[in-house]
Symmetry: C2
Subunit: 142 residues, 2 copies
Amino acid sequence: MQFSSRLPIAVHILLAIVEFDGKEKTTSTFLAGSVNVNPVIIRNTLGQLKAAGLVTVKAGEGGSSLAKAPKDITLIDVFDAVEKEEALFHFHENPNPECPVGKNVHAVLDNKLFAIQDAMREKMKSITLQDLIDDMNKILVQ
Amino acid sequence: MQFSSRLPIAVHILLAIVEFDGKEKTTSTFLAGSVNVNPVIIRNTLGQLKAAGLVTVKAGEGGSSLAKAPKDITLIDVFDAVEKEEALFHFHENPNPECPVGKNVHAVLDNKLFAIQDAMREKMKSITLQDLIDDMNKILVQ
DNA sequence: TTTGTTGTAATTAATTTGGTTACAACTGCA
DNA sequence: TGCAGTTGTAACCAAATTAATTACAACAAA
């Protein structure tokens, strides 16, 4: 089981928007060339990022920009923008209520599974787009 | 995106093996009745748990038991037993190496994604089967 | 030898992902 | 106004994954 490549692609897009700000018009076709996926994937992802208030997109004219400072965009913002909102683990639907285990497995396990999901989300919350930009700039000047 | 129900089902199975120890023969059919899935799912899952050294299964005779103390089985043991070993995030395959962003997005993002995965795994490591048994017993005596 | 069980392969349906084509709507410019 | 480039979105397709299910050989105990 894996998360889709949506978060990595969305982060790639955001990094490219920052990197090429003022240098290139970041159209879906241009971004598709950097990410190396179909432009429609870029347009759909940009649409999700726009709906989440992370970017603005110039319809007709073309190009996109950040709607917030990179330090105010965390990976959880990006994750929630592009991934469906749902529990991390799919619980089996119908444990037998006649069985002492089946009757209580939800009560016992749900909060543990939620804690696991929350640990992941907290880590994502601690990483900002600015962190990634700083890391990239360190590499670029080398 | 979700994990499959394999971890919840595996935990359910382990809890049932403990709960019915000495009371019922925990065959795949019996366990299937508690989890409410097809017995083949139980047999496959038990096979994975057995391969990971968490349970023993009596071929022919029927029934299964824990191979380790509940305090020595953590959710990460169960998770690794039943989920394929792979990176949590699927990275898009071919970022453009001619692009300063495409060339470096892996170097920038990989360790962050790994840190997120690791946060999740560390939380799973901190939860033992014994914790779940204790919680279940608290409910059962009420 | 009979019965019940495990282990495993094969098949199926449903869902998700990513790729792709197509095209209407929109913007800026000549 | 009309053209060129772009966004937004729908539709379709192939591949992969999940879970359910049937089937059956191998095995153990009575």
